[in-house]
């Protein structure tokens, strides 16, 4: 073609005009810390594993999840999911049901026999773990992953700690527990049951261990002074639940009163119902808002017919009946007796007032500091005694399964570093991916998937699991409700909305790159990034 001078031009020649020089600010891709991750006591990369679940690659998602927590099927059932309380989506409609997807992945792994990868190299170091509860088992898992020889000494006849002897089966079926414990043992972790450690230091030295992690939980039921007649039938929650697990059916009677406001109280009351009690009443001193038990469990208990007497104390226990007193809360929130008394029919009274730690095994260990009945540890989870680490319910904590798991992980990392003569430092935490950085427009309206529950009649027929899991379809749906806070999920928005084609698409899984030769720094990509994964930073000029 004969092109007239200057009037007719060859296509695409504008590429020689580098408009990037106009820029005063530049967009950069960032990874922010999603609030869910920040809220997870086990330090899971929730957004990270949801990313794979969103594509239906559940195995990858499970592997990503278990990098931090070996118990998705368990925590998917029993964790109080603080991640969900922190979830940004909670402020839009409802939080992503992280635990439900987590549970689905855990169950999927059990069904499909997914296993943990074995460590490539053995370290030659031996670590003793005392207590096969969630904290101890988690430490064992991580240490095994890091190549250490791990041996667990467990006082009880079965592994699991409070997972087995506290949390009832209708919330955590035992085959699930067994499967997830077994997967850890399959890594070569040795477990000695019925082996109570009496002295931590000697156990370590005699066994030739290089370090020890203590995770013995808190098992001694707390008592409260209640004047009781000789014939009064007074029990405690941990024992009731423990007995049930070991096959001894506790004798509770027709009318059971539980005293306390924590999860054990709820669990005992619900258990009593399942054992045939006509009436299960929880007597709690404070109000609903103040109750430490998780609202979802209170709700489930009430649905099963458990009655709760708020602002009430027990002043006297006699055979077949209790005297209770109404309380009131004054302006500053403190409780005051009202002097109004009432009688309550009760064949048994179960005390669920919390547990203390049995610290016997530390009596002769030097350097240990005890405060408020629990063992003090440093940031590295080490007690005052070199090489002796501790975590879970026995150290100052919220006493939940997931906190225990988090401690187990943290302890494992520190033990590993300590064994290598190093100090483990937490990698720098990126800033939180806050909701104000989310461009809500882009997310579809998607109400949370409700997990089906067992109907009330069937619940009372035994210990069948109450809350049901998701299937592959609705797990996918739920995973896709995730906003991917602060982390690119390859929605192509930046690639599309740039008026200057200054975003390069690198292909699936590879994300995008800015072409600073042409980016004018308008910031549309930043504003229109749904998840807030782009920052605008000033250009040095």
């Amino acid at each position: 073609m004969e092109k007239p001078f200057a009037i007719t031009l060859d296509p695409g020649t504008s590429l020689s005009n580098h408009t990037g020089s106009w820029r005063t600010e530049r967009p950069v891709y960032v990874h922010r810390l999603p609030p869910c991750n920040n809220g997870c006591p086990a330090g899971e990369d929730i957004q990270g594993w949801l990313f794979h679940a969103e594509s239906g690659d559940y195995e990858k998602a499970w592997h990503k999840l278990t990098e931090n927590n070996p118990f998705p099927a368990i925590v998917g059932r029993v964790c109080y999911h603080p991640c969900e309380s922190a979830c940004n989506r909670g402020q839009i409609d409802e939080a992503v049901s992280i635990h439900a997807v987590e549970r689905f992945l855990g169950d999927e792994a059990i069904k499909k026999n997914w296993a943990f990868p074995l460590p490539v190299q053995k370290s030659g170091k031996r670590v003793l773990i005392v207590g096969a509860g969630p904290s101890g088992l988690t430490a064992a898992y991580h240490l095994a992953c890091l190549g250490h020889d791990v041996e667990i000494h467990e006082a009880g006849p079965m592994a699991g700690g409070m997972l087995r002897f506290g949390i009832p089966q209708y919330r955590l079926p035992r085959d699930i527990l067994d499967a997830e414990v077994k997967r850890i043992l399959d890594m070569g972790v040795t477990l000695h049951l019925n082996r109570k450690v009496e002295n931590a230091l000697t156990a370590m030295q005699e066994g030739g261990f290089d370090a020890v992690f203590l995770a013995i939980g808190a098992h001694i039921a707390k008592r409260a002074y209640i004047p009781a007649g000789a014939a009064a039938h007074v029990l405690n929650a941990v024992n009731v639940l423990h007995d049930l697990e070991t096959g001894e059916k506790p004798l509770l009677g027709r009318r059971v009163v539980v005293y306390g406001g924590g999860n054990s109280a709820i669990d005992v009351a619900r258990t009593a119902k399942r054992l045939g009690a006509d009436e299960a009443v929880i007597v709690y001193r404070r109000t609903r808002d103040a109750m430490p038990a998780h609202p979802s469990e209170v709700h489930e208990a009430e649905a099963e017919g458990v009655l709760i007497r708020w602002l009430t104390t027990i002043t006297q226990a006699e055979e077949g009946e209790l005297t209770i007193e109404k309380m009131c809360m004054d302006d500053d929130g403190s409780l005051q007796p009202t002097g109004e008394f009432e009688t309550l029919q009760a064949d048994s009274l179960v005390l669920a007032l919390g547990q203390d730690v049995d610290l016997g095994l530390l009596e002769h260990v030097p350097g240990i500091e005890i405060e408020g009945g629990v063992v003090k540890v440093g940031e590295n989870m080490m007690t005052g005694c070199e090489g002796v680490f501790a975590g879970g319910d026995m150290v100052p904590s919220e006493r939940t399964v997931t906190v225990g798991i988090g401690h187990g992980k943290l302890a494992a990392r520190n033990i590993h570093a300590w064994l290598n003569g190093e100090t483990w430092v937490h990698p720098p935490r990126p800033a939180i991916a806050t909701l104000d950085r989310i461009n809500r427009w882009y997310y579809s309206e998607a109400p949370k998937v409700v997990q089906p529950e067992l109907d009330a009649v069937r619940r009372m027929n035994g210990f069948e699991e109450v809350v049901q899991g998701l299937n592959a379809d609705n797990a996918l749906f739920e995973a896709r409700r995730c906003l991917s806070c602060g982390n690119c999920f390859e929605c192509d928005n930046c690639y599309g909305v740039c008026p200057d084609n200054a975003v390069k698409k690198l292909g699936p899984g590879k994300g995008f790159e800015f072409d600073y030769d042409f980016c004018k720094g308008c910031g549309i990509c930043v504003a229109e990034c749904p998840c807030g994964a782009i920052d605008m930073v000033p250009e040095d000029i």
Binding site: E2, K3, P4, F5, A6, I7, T8, L9, D10, P11
Partner: protein
């Protein structure tokens, strides 16, 4: 084939022989008959393939033509007067972009006052638009020039305006020789555009050009147009060889060789002048006529050669540059730069006023005596203008002068076509 035809029809047939692929039509007297006739041929299927488009304005007529030409179609349109001005912006654009569109201008006066009759004020207003302009002196020439115009436009990749006097030519029934299709086909090969919008080879046409290159663009446009000074005679010779008629040279001389007085003119008045010259020659006067066919580019050298020996030059113009004088005369003056011979401007036939042999004859006698004012308005009713001027002087009156003048002439109301 010899035919007795109206000028418009003859041109329409010539255009059709050139196989235009896109024809845009918008009515305006005295051009309308041309596109009507082309439209009919398209409807009948005698001109095919051809897209005949009834546009909503002349601006769009030429804009559609621009688009069609950009896509490589041979494109034709026609207009006159107000229509030409209405498309003015596109006129400049078409030439700036180098699209070889052929357009007939059926010359007509420009308003106000609105006037449907012939003069060349319209095409003269567009003389610097970058188009080639050729003026036909007769309908036969108009026919032939359209055929040559397509060839010229496409070879040089510039648009060509073929100007023919409205009514005088467009509406005159004359015997014209309409060439055979095969002959035209042999003379005019299919259009091969220099540049084309084509998905297979994308280009950007019509870029914005700033001070860094605009001068060069204009310089090149000038050079390109000047090439027609060689090309047109060459094409005319080829035409003559094939069709046996000389219709396309830059200029046409009539009894000028030994003429002391040469009259210069464009368009149909040349025929009248030739008859007047014959009469004067019979009376023994050495007079001749020089017809300028190509006004753009202006054939300075040829005009110079033709007028070199004349003692005086009389330029008969069918247009007038108000506030300045003769438009053609100016160019003649340039061609004759340095020669002392007087150059008279005679403004004639404005707004359709007949140019009679008698008036021309009288005027030329005056010229030969060098008694002609340097600018003369032929057959000007001096009493009328005097009275109007007088009134102007005595009191500032409202309303256009023309209205007053018509009143003086006793003309009450006029129906415009």
């Amino acid at each position: 084939m010899l035919k007795q035809l109206e000028g418009s029809r003859a041109v329409a047939e010539a255009v059709a022989l050139c196989r235009p692929e896109v024809v845009c039509a918008y009515p305006i007297t005295p051009q309308t008959h041309i596109v009507e006739a082309v439209g009919e041929m398209v409807r009948e299927g005698t001109l095919s393939p051809c897209e005949f488009i009834n546009v909503e304005s002349e601006f769009s007529a030429l804009s559609v033509a621009i688009g069609a030409s950009a896509a490589g179609a041979r494109t034709y349109t026609a207009t006159a007067s107000q229509g030409l001005l209405f498309m003015a912006e596109a006129v400049f654009n078409a030439s700036g972009m180098g699209f070889p569109i052929v357009m007939t201008v059926a010359n007509r006066a420009i308003g106000a006052p609105i006037n449907i009759w012939n003069d060349q004020g319209d095409s003269m207003a567009m003389r610097d638009s970058g188009w080639l302009q050729i003026y036909a002196t007769s309908n036969q020439e108009a026919v032939d020039l359209h055929i040559i115009a397509f060839r010229l436009a496409e070879e040089i990749s510039l648009p060509v305006m073929v100007c023919m006097d409205g009514f005088v030519l467009t509406h005159a029934y004359e015997r014209v020789d309409i060439p055979e299709q095969a002959e035209v086909d042999a003379y005019l090969p299919p259009f091969e555009p220099r540049q084309i919008l084509d998905p297979a080879e994308p280009v950007t046409m019509g870029a914005m050009v700033g001070p860094e290159a605009f001068t060069e663009v204009r310089y090149l446009a000038h050079i390109k147009q000047m090439q027609a000074l060689e090309l047109l005679p060459k094409l005319a010779r080829e035409f003559e060889a094939r069709f046996g008629r000389d219709s396309g040279c830059l200029i046409q001389r009539y009894r000028t060789e030994d003429a002391k007085t040469i009259v210069v003119a464009l368009g149909s008045v040349v025929g009248t002048l030739q008859e007047v010259i014959d009469t004067l020659r019979n009376e023994g006067h050495a007079v001749g006529v020089l017809a300028i066919r190509a006004f753009r580019p202006f054939p300075l050298a040829e005009v110079h050669d033709a007028l070199m020996h004349a003692e005086r030059v009389v330029v008969v113009e069918r247009a007038f540059a108000i506030g300045q004088g003769g438009i053609v005369a100016d160019s003649i003056r340039k061609a004759l730069q340095g020669r002392p011979a007087p150059i008279y401007t005679v403004v004639a036939g404005l707004g359709g006023r007949p140019i009679t042999q008698a008036s021309l004859n009288a005027m030329l006698h005056q010229a030969m005596d060098d008694a002609l004012p340097s600018v003369t308005f032929l057959d000007l009713q001096t009493d009328v203008v005097e009275r109007a001027l007088e009134r102007e002087r005595s009191h500032r009156r409202s309303g256009p002068v023309a209205e007053g003048v018509l009143k003086d002439l006793g003309v009450k109301a006029m129906q415009y076509v």
